[in-house]
């Protein structure tokens, strides 16, 4: 039978049990006598062995989840990975968004009309817009090639991942500049 006592006095209980077997309070030292006296007021509750699972499950419901995103160090591995997912989503929104928009509003999203509209804008707006469009496209394309290498087992070491990671970042910078100046 599982004896379930409250607090930390259960240890004291077992101690006093051992000493009381020796027979008579005369054999207990004054210090232990004091302990024994204080444990007289402790009540134990007998529970079946299956109760241990119930107690554990009750405790489990109260347990917090340890922090993750907030505390984990951003590393090239995770940052490039989530970055790839992020720009992929953004580019998809742009692609499908513009396709559907052209479907419903062919007038306003016509190629010639858009080019006419864009040519009237000041230079800094044009360069900014081109950078905002070119950088995600370049990064996603280059990281996609990196992923294809991984799928056939190439560069699948920590060194390889970091080297290709920096290569993708450098390639993105160069490609963006090229695309913006085109």
């Amino acid at each position: 039978m599982l004896k379930y006592t409250t607090g930390t006095t259960s240890r004291l209980m077992s101690h006093s049990k051992i000493y009381s077997l020796k027979g008579g309070s005369r054999s207990i030292s004054p210090l232990l006598q004091k302990r024994h006296a204080s444990t007289k007021s402790i009540r134990t509750q007998s529970l079946p062995p299956s109760a241990s699972v119930d107690i554990l499950n009750k405790q489990r419901l109260l347990r917090p989840t340890s922090p993750h995103l907030a505390i984990y160090k951003p590393q090239l591995t995770s940052v490039l990975s989530i970055g790839n997912r992020g720009v992929g989503g953004a580019l998809s929104v742009l692609l499908y968004g513009s396709s559907i928009a052209y479907l419903f509003f062919p007038g306003t999203f016509d190629g010639d009309y858009l080019i006419e509209l864009a040519s009237g804008l000041p230079d800094y707006v044009k360069y900014t817009a081109k950078t905002i469009l070119a950088a995600p496209l370049a990064f996603h394309a280059l990281n996609g090639i990196r992923h294809l290498f991984w799928d056939v087992g190439k560069f699948m070491t920590l060194r390889g991942v970091y080297q290709t990671g920096y290569a993708v970042l450098a390639g993105t910078a160069v490609s963006t500049i090229v695309l913006v100046l085109l």
């Binding site: 405790q59 347990r63 340890s66 993750h68 160090k73 995770s78 990975s81 991984w150 799928d151 920590l158």
Partner: protein
């Protein structure tokens, strides 16, 4: 000196520890205190309503061993005995002291303390796990997942001479980099995909061990082992984030093992 005083004086000629500092040839210099602040995650299951907090401890690094585990033990011994954490071998082989130190999952006994006293060190339990107490995570699910891949040799036909399953050195080499895993759970708990899909995705540690048995030439149940992974979640939640290999305190590469599983499953 009288006979009595000479007898009363303890023998000083043999014990090294009894040589007084003043008797040494070189002067003994007392190192000045190098105090570093440790901020450690605390949560007490006896007070479950109280939210988890970061508690600050200041440790003199010149009176502590070089590793984070030395600092934790010093705090537990001298400052706060209620600080709770798992530890055993203190040499990086048992995997008990896996925790998140300064944002990265590693073994506390292998992680050197940064001796820059102007910066504090933050110690958290392994990420996205249920906390039993302070730095102790609940690894029950992790062990269940490991058990589910049947991490033992399955070969019902014994060899002809009845002795051992023979294996060539080339076949044995395929297991290098996988058998050394100590199941510390650092890699699985560093994987964001495992954070979000812990109940169905097996995680890098378990998957690397799954491959360890798939690649073992002595095992004959390779087809069954591969079949277990042929679904959307068990293996294919891996998106090659690569946090696992980055954080492994033993320098292993679970991501490569997972890539090899994917290639073998694709060829099926």
């Amino acid at each position: 000196m009288s006979l009595l005083t000479r007898l009363a004086r303890p023998s000083t000629s043999r014990a090294f520890s009894s040589s007084a500092a003043r008797a040494l040839a070189t002067p003994v210099q007392q190192k000045s205190a190098l105090n570093k602040e440790f901020k450690i995650y605390r949560w007490n299951p006896d007070e479950p309503a109280k939210k988890p907090t970061l508690q600050s401890y200041t440790v003199d690094l010149n009176q502590t061993g070089p590793m984070i585990l030395d600092a934790l033990i010093k705090i537990k011994n001298e400052m706060d005995p209620t600080l709770t954490f798992r530890r055993s071998c203190r040499e990086g082989i048992c995997g008990s002291c896996a925790m998140n130190i300064d944002g990265q999952n590693t073994l506390a006994c292998l992680c050197r303390i940064d001796r820059n006293s102007s910066k504090d060190t933050k110690i958290y339990p392994l990420p996205h796990m249920y906390v039993v107490k302070d730095l102790v995570p609940d690894l029950t699910l992790f062990y269940k997942q490991y058990k589910s891949i049947k991490p033992y040799l399955q070969n019902p036909t014994p060899p002809e001479d009845g002795k051992e399953f023979l294996q060539s050195p080339e076949d044995r080499k395929k297991l290098d980099g996988m058998y050394e895993c100590i199941l510390c759970a650092c890699c699985s708990t560093s994987c964001p995909s495992y954070w979000w899909n812990q109940d169905e995705y097996l995680g890098p540690a378990t998957l690397m061990q799954a491959y360890r048995w798939i690649a073992d030439s002595r095992d004959s149940h390779t087809a069954e082992r591969k079949e277990v992974l042929q679904n959307e979640m068990s293996l294919y939640r891996c998106h090659t984030i690569f946090n696992c290999a980055r954080t492994c305190p033993k320098g292993l590469n679970p991501a490569l093992a997972i890539a090899k599983i994917k290639m073998e499953l694709a060829a099926d």
